[in-house]
Structures are given as structure tokens and as C-alpha cells.
Amino acid sequence: MDETILQISHLSKLFGKNVVLRDIDFTVKKGDVTSIIGSSGSGKSTLLRCINLLEQPTSGHILYHGKDISSKGFNIPAYRAKVGMVFQSFNLFSNHTVLDNCMIGQRKVLKKDRITAEKTAKYYLEKVGMLPYINAKPRQISGGQKQRVAIARALAMEPEILLFDEPTSALDPQMVGEVLDVMKTLVKEGLTMIVVTHEMAFARDVSSRAVFMKDGIICEEGTPEQIFVNPSKQDTKEFLSRFFDR
């Protein structure tokens, strides 16, 4: 259980002259559930996007099982298949049904045959409670349902680690619960996850580690108790008080 999956060192990202991430060091071990909190614009999404190479890091290294993901000849599609991502805006494929959304990556990337892919897709759709909707198109289901399908789509690739970028921020309040419930199930199963979220109660209760980001740096990190109950940095206290004193 101590196996290191990702090791990020001295990661920096600039957009033009705008420094969005500076000198981030960060390690993810198998089974870790890391929640990343911080105010809007602090670089949380950019960090996840760098990990998934949706953004190219400006400097620093991201090692996946010891291999640098920016090195020459590194198989990026294969890496992305192992590092799943769930987006705030779901990003389902509008032209495919719920079932096909969960099968297409298995078929076209993992090259599984149809029967195996369908079986796996249905297994994970059942897990997120979306099995009855396999024939629906994304435009025909609600936001919470879309996000659950997006999670199933990511899970169907059987990733080693799953990145969530504010998975409930685009949802109506009554739909947040259904998505968080699914995520709690995944935590129980021991899936390695990094979750960017504003759901503080969720982050405090389910994560094994919490990271507070501010202005592109990791300001404070520790166990959920350290961050949420006894934060040592003033910035962390201020940020949290805005959430809990309401």
C-alpha cells in the first residue's frame, strides 16, 4: 500500500508572464485520497490539468511510477488512460449514448472487444446508479446524472488514479449529494483520488490528506484534522472561516 504513483517536484506553470503554479512538490501514494482546497484562481485546476498533461508544465517534473511524463517517447495516451479525469462541466460526448460514452475509450484506446467493454461499462454504470439510463443521450439526463456517467466513463478505463476537478460545482444543490455519495463509495473501495472541491465537509470526512493552495503554491498540507481542525497558517484559517462561519 506504500507504492508511489505520482511524484511531482518543482512543478511550475506560467501562462505568458502570469505565474499560475510555482514550485509545487506533491506525492501521491496508492490509496491516497487527497483533497485540494483553495479559493478560485489559486491554480487548483491548472495543477490537475498539468498532471493529466492537458496543460504542458513550464518546468519541473512529474514522475509516474518513476518515469518522467514529459520525457521523450513517453506514451501520453496510455498514461492518460491510467490517470482518469472528471471535469466540472462533465464533458460527456453528446453524440453518444450513456453506454457508448463508457465504452468508447475501452474500445478505441484499450482495444477491448465489444462484449468485454459493454460488460465493464455496465458494471460501472450500475455502481453509479445509472444502469437504467444506458440508452439516453447526455442532453436527456440531469446534471447530477451526467456527472455520475462521467465518473463511470472514467472508471470504465480502470484507472490507477482519478482526478476530480470540482465535480459538484456545476450542480444544483439537490444533485450534489448523489455525486458525493458515488465518490464516497469509490473512497471505500480504495481508489486513489485527487479531489479539487469546495465541499469542505466531504473533504474533511473522506480524504486521507488535505492540501490548501493559495496563489499557485501549496500553502499548507496535512491530515484532514491538521488542515480543517487545527490549521497552522493564517491564510488557511481565513479561507476556512469563510466556509464554516456562514
Binding site: F90, N91, D113, K119, L131, A136, K137, T185
Partner: protein, 301 residues
């Protein structure tokens, strides 16, 4: 009324003499228009895909150079063939071969020349339509596809282009209808389509107006039929507005009645079963409630 009756009889007489010619003209027109629109779409799709290959500043210099070159070439192609009259393009292309090869090379058939001109011309228009269609699909879907490991090509093929194609169907229809009408300029290289029949018929009979009436009606029928068919295709592409909820029991049944064999001779199937059994221990608590169907299946087999 008298005149209308005369027009009627003139048309009947014309049709009696030239009916087959008109019909074969209509066939030449519609077949060329349909084929060239289809080929033009393929050219447009290729240009669209090539133009939207992402090119980051961090990519190596050779890749950036070729991508840049490609974009410039496509740009020139689009501007040249959108910006000049097709009648001129026909002459230009038709006579280019013999000119440069001192008459040793020429288009063997006028059809081939006509096909080349109209396809290339349509492709130039479609390249822009496809590019617009691709850009209109929100980048989130591209990122969603990348995040599960799809390459640019796969993302385009399975996610973006099907949607882009649906969105530009009205433009494809426009191009088809324009091609039906504008192939009439190909008389300049001697291609005998619908309008060329008119010229032949009135040359012999001087019945300008009756023949023009037949032509008007013929073109109108062609274009309206095409519009109706295109609308139908669009509706088919949209699919139904409703979907059926699937009962868990039915799923189990369906999963048990597959008739097509696995392509790999079932080897992978065994592998995943083994893998699932391995994982079963790990997930025991969840599988009891969460995976009823699959468990049933496995037991049944």
C-alpha cells in the same frame, strides 16, 4: 389561355423529340452534383482535421514547420477556389494538362474533368464549413476524449466530426443545391448536363421559352427533392427525443443472449473474469449490493 395551351403543346412536342435527352441530362446533372458534393465533403473534412491539429509552442520545430506549411497550403487552396469563378476553373484545369505536357496528357473523359473541377471547388467551401463546425463543438468534449487517452485523430473521428458534420448539414445541403445549378457552367468544357440539353434542343427547334420552362421545372424538382431528402437525413441524425429506461432484469437477459463471439476467441473474456474474481475479494462489500447482474451472469455461464 390560348397561349398557355400553346405552351403546353409545345412542351409536349419538345419532350416527345428530346425527352430522353432531357432525362439523361438530368441524370448527368444530379449524379455529378451528388458525387462531387460527397467528394468535396471528404476533401473538406481532411482539410478541417489537418487545420485543427493542435500545435503548441513546446512542440518540436519540425512538427511546427510542417503544421504551419500545411495550414498555409490549405489557406491558399481555399482562397483560390473560393475566389475565382467555377467556369474559369473548369477551363483552367481542363487545359492545364495538355499545356504543360505538350498535348501528351489530357483528360480522357470530360466527365473526369468535370468531376475534378466541381469536387475541388466544393472542397474549398467545405474546408471552411468543417473548420467552423469543428470549432463550434465545445473544447470540453475534446478534453474529455483526451483525458481517457484518445489521440487527436480518434477524438476527431469518434467525437468531434460526427457532431460537426451534423451541425454543417445545412451547409452541405446548400452546396449540393448550388452544385446542381452551377454544374451548368461545365458546357464550357463540353460536359452534357441538363442545361446543355436545352442549348441543343433550342438550336434545332428555336423553342426557347418552352424548353426553358422544362429546364426551370426540372431544376426545381431536383433541388426540392434534394432539400426534402436532406431534411430527412438531418432528422435521422438527431435521433429520437425520448429514450427507454432499461430494467435491470432485461439487462441481465440481454447480456446472456449475445450471439456474436468475441473477436479474440474468448481469451480476453476469460482474462477479465479472472481479473474480476481476483478483485472480488477486494470489493466484496460493494459487489454484494452493486453488481447483482454481473454476478448472476457469471454464475449462469
Amino acid at each position: 389561355m390560348n397561349k398557355m395551351a400553346q405552351l403546353g403543346s409545345d412542351i409536349v412536342k419538345l419532350w416527345g423529340d428530346y425527352g430522353n435527352a432531357y432525362l439523361s441530362g438530368i441524370w448527368s446533372t444530379i449524379s455529378l452534383a451528388v458525387i462531387c458534393t460527397a467528394v468535396g465533403c471528404i476533401i473538406g473534412l481532411l482539410c478541417g482535421i489537418l487545420q485543427t491539429i493542435p500545435c503548441a509552442k513546446t512542440d518540436n520545430i519540425i512538427k511546427r514547420f510542417f503544421l504551419g506549411l500545411l495550414r498555409v497550403i490549405i489557406r491558399i487552396y481555399v482562397e483560390v477556389f473560393r475566389g475565382t469563378p467555377m467556369i474559369l476553373q473548369a477551363v483552367f484545369i481542363y487545359f492545364a494538362l495538355p499545356y504543360f505536357s505538350d498535348n501528351t496528357l489530357r483528360f480522357d473523359s470530360v466527365w473526369l474533368a468535370a468531376f475534378t473541377v466541381v469536387s475541388i471547388n466544393t472542397g474549398a467551401y467545405m474546408a471552411e464549413s468543417v473548420r467552423g463546425g469543428i470549432l463550434s463543438i465545445d473544447v470540453g468534449q475534446t478534453e474529455g476524449a483526451k483525458a481517457i487517452g484518445m489521440t487527436h485523430f480518434k477524438t476527431m473521428l469518434y467525437v468531434i466530426l460526427p457532431q460537426a458534420l451534423r451541425n454543417i448539414m445545412p451547409q452541405i445541403g446548400n452546396n449540393l443545391i448550388i452544385n446542381i445549378k452551377d454544374t451548368s457552367v461545365l458546357f464550357i468544357i463540353g460536359y452534357t448536363e441538363f442545361f446543355a440539353v436545352h442549348k441543343a434542343a433550342v438550336g434545332a427547334t428555336f423553342k426557347y421559352f418552352p424548353s426553358a420552362t422544362i429546364e426551370m421545372a426540372g431544376y426545381l424538382i431536383l433541388t426540392i427533392v434534394c432539400s426534402v431528402i436532406l431534411r430527412y437525413i438531418e432528422r435521422r441524425m438527431d435521433g429520437t427525443d425520448s429514450y427507454s429506461l432499461v430494467q435491470a432484469d432485461q439487462l441481465t437477459l440481454a447480456a446472456g443472449t449475445y450471439t456474436y463471439p468475441a473477436k479474440t476467441g474468448g481469451r480476453d473474456y476469460e482474462a477479465i473474469k479472472n481479473a474480476e474474481q481476483l478483485e472480488a475479494g477486494k470489493r466484496a462489500g460493494i459487489r454484494d449490493v452493486g453488481n447483482l447482474n454481473l454476478d448472476k451472469n457469471e454464475r449462469g455461464r
